[in-house]
């Protein structure tokens, strides 16, 4: 198989170029013709905004780059710009996302369609510059749409889809595209990029309906008394449902236009599986690589890669996992002191329970602070999933830790 990808239109071959996921995201911002980028450096995100700065300096992108003094300001500036009708983008990780926390809710509650990439990284203390999902999992209840991507190509494609969904007048919610720090952010791999004209016809810039305009003044996020606040919040609840279907359609349309789409989740060998492993981002790629080896060894396992995390694709998930009796869920964050300490495992447990489904859910925490997760560790996940059919561990397994 060669790398050249047949163009959906049949016009010819698209040549991929070597890029890191960080570069791919910056290039998506360029091809989307973003108007405003606010930037504050943090490892492992920094090269995203560095690359965008390079595109602006080279004249490849006509955008305003706002250098701010903190991530709190970075997101605030992006929100302000989006509220004024600009297509706004920013990027962060780890402590940066934590420092934005207050403003995350202002973006979603204010219904401002900012798109942000997050190169996931562990949280201090102690300081770790390395990868896990503590940062994004801390932000999961902030009202943002959250997608987890598994390759540089998917990151490029998803940032484009994200703007289309976020800016849709029936959605108007901020969108976070999350991927693994280092394991993806600094990994060089092939990426096909698209021409700006086609990208903009797929994701056209829209007139933000409530934009800040001195000639037609509006207030966004004003004090709201007990008689109305709840309704504003409930609108966010309802809009998440709309966002799910909008994202589904945006992904399908992306497939028609560009020849690549991913679905809300991806399920491999799930139909006849005895047990399924649930994973996201780079771990899903490694498990995808190894699942055929597992199958060749007679292990009837499946792999479910969750792509859209918020809104959670409930019906898709239930359909994909129907008929299997055991799920092993890999979490790369810890919910300290919780009944089940993997946050994703908790949610899947509660989903099954609320629907009266008795599928066993095994919670595994792995890769904290980028503790190495090698090929044999991935195989162990398949093994553990199958073994758990007979006797499922009641407590979260902290895989690979020295006790």
């Amino acid at each position: 198989m060669t790398l050249a990808v047949e163009e959906a239109s049949g016009k010819g071959l698209k040549r991929p170029r070597p890029m890191s996921t960080n570069s791919a995201i910056a290039t998506a911002a360029r091809d989307l013709d973003v108007d405003v980028v606010s930037a504050y450096p943090i490892t492992p995100q920094t090269t995203v905004v560095e690359k965008i700065a390079e595109y602006i300096a080279n004249g490849e992108l006509d955008a305003e780059m706002i250098h701010v003094e903190s991530e709190h300001s970075a997101l605030s500036a992006a929100i302000g710009a989006a509220a004024a009708g600009a297509r706004s983008f920013t990027a962060t990780a780890s402590q940066g996302l934590a420092l934005m926390h207050e403003i995350l809710h202002i973006a979603s509650g204010g219904r401002v369609p900012v798109v942000m990439s997050v190169a996931t990284r562990a949280l201090s203390a102690p300081i770790s510059i390395w990868n896990d999902h503590s940062d994004v999992m801390n932000a999961r209840d902030s009202g943002w749409i959250i997608a987890f991507v598994s390759s540089a190509q998917e990151a490029y494609d998803t940032v484009i889809q994200a703007f289309k969904v976020a800016e849709d007048p029936e959605v108007l919610l901020p969108f976070m595209v999350a991927y693994d720090g280092y394991l993806m952010s600094h990994t060089m791999e092939p990426v096909v990029t698209e021409d700006r004209e086609t990208v903009l016809s797929y994701a056209p810039k829209r007139d933000y309906p409530y934009k800040l305009d001195p000639k037609k003044p509006v207030t966004i996020g004003t004090i709201t008394d007990p008689n109305w606040y709840y309704e504003f919040k409930y609108q966010q609840v309802e809009t998440m449902k709309v966002a799910l279907e909008k994202f589904r359609r945006a992904d399908e349309e992306f497939g028609k236009v560009f020849g690549r789409n991913y679905g809300l989740l991806e399920c491999i060998h799930c139909e006849d599986a005895d047990a399924i492993v649930v994973a996201t981002t780079s771990y899903a790629t490694t498990l995808k690589y190894l699942i055929n080896t597992a199958r060749e060894k007679g292990m009837k396992v499946g792999l479910l890669r969750l792509r859209l995390y918020r809104p959670f694709p409930v019906e898709d998930f239930l359909k994909a996992t129907s008929g299997v009796d055991t799920l092993l869920v890999i979490d790369r964050a810890i919910s300290y002191g919780a009944p089940v300490q993997g946050p994703l495992a908790t949610e899947i447990n509660s989903l099954f329970h609320s629907r009266g489904i008795d599928t066993k859910v095994v919670s595994v925490v792995a890769g904290i602070g980028q503790r190495a997760f090698k090929d044999d560790d991935a195989m162990n996940m398949f093994k553990l999933a199958l073994e758990s059919r007979k006797a499922a561990p009641e407590e979260t397994i902290f895989y690979g830790v020295r006790k």
Partner: protein, 193 residues
């Protein structure tokens, strides 16, 4: 088929850039490839690891390379058996050293059947670049010893990364290293001596 490369160098020698250049060359050659570093706290002189995988298949694992087909050692001070872990039986070792292959085979405790490529990359880099940045010399040596990517696209990858004079000097270094790298296979009798 998948080829796995592990790079051992010291911070500042360009192991990460070299690992990326090989993946870029492979992509230009029309293959799928991944390259990623294993960062410690970044500082000059500290041991650094990086990985490259080249495949005909788009799904490539994102895990550290534990069973390399090819091992590249960028610094003579890292000539130690602890860095050869997991090397496949018919693998290749490419080293920056001023020693003969037999001596290196003994130091690294390499098994018969392993191919070895040797280049004095530091000397060559000092001559061409006037500074001890050895990664591009090691690229020339790697291409000579393994043919894992084309020389043409390796040069192109470096010129894309470093346009202008610096890129041209590095291309010269790649070519010199390609010519001067000595490639040999470890024979049983060498180890017995």
């Amino acid at each position: 088929m998948m080829i796995e490369i592990r790079w051992h160098g010291r911070g500042g020698q360009g192991a990460v850039t070299a690992s990326e250049a090989v993946s870029a060359a492979a992509i230009l050659d029309g293959k799928y490839a991944l390259a990623f570093p294993e960062f410690g706290a970044e500082r000059r002189g500290a041991p650094v690891r990086a990985y490259t995988r080249i495949s005909d298949n788009p799904v490539i694992p994102r895990t550290p390379v534990t069973t390399p087909d090819i091992l590249v050692i960028l610094d003579p001070s890292l000539l130690h058996p602890e860095y050869t872990y997991g090397l496949k039986p018919n693998g290749t070792v490419v080293v920056n050293a001023k020693l003969p292959p037999e001596k290196i085979a003994k130091i690294l405790k390499l098994k018969p059947g392993v191919k070895i490529g040797v280049i004095d990359a530091t000397g060559l880099a000092m001559e061409v670049l006037k500074r001890p940045i050895v990664n591009t010399a090691m690229l020339g040596a790697l291409v000579k010893a393994t043919g894992v990517v084309s020389l043409e696209n390796t040069e192109k990858a470096i010129l894309n990364k470093f346009p202008g004079k610096i890129g041209e000097l590095n291309v010269e270094l790649i070519r010199r290293a390609y010519k001067e790298t000595v490639v040999s296979e470890i024979k049983e009798e060498v180890l017995a001596q």
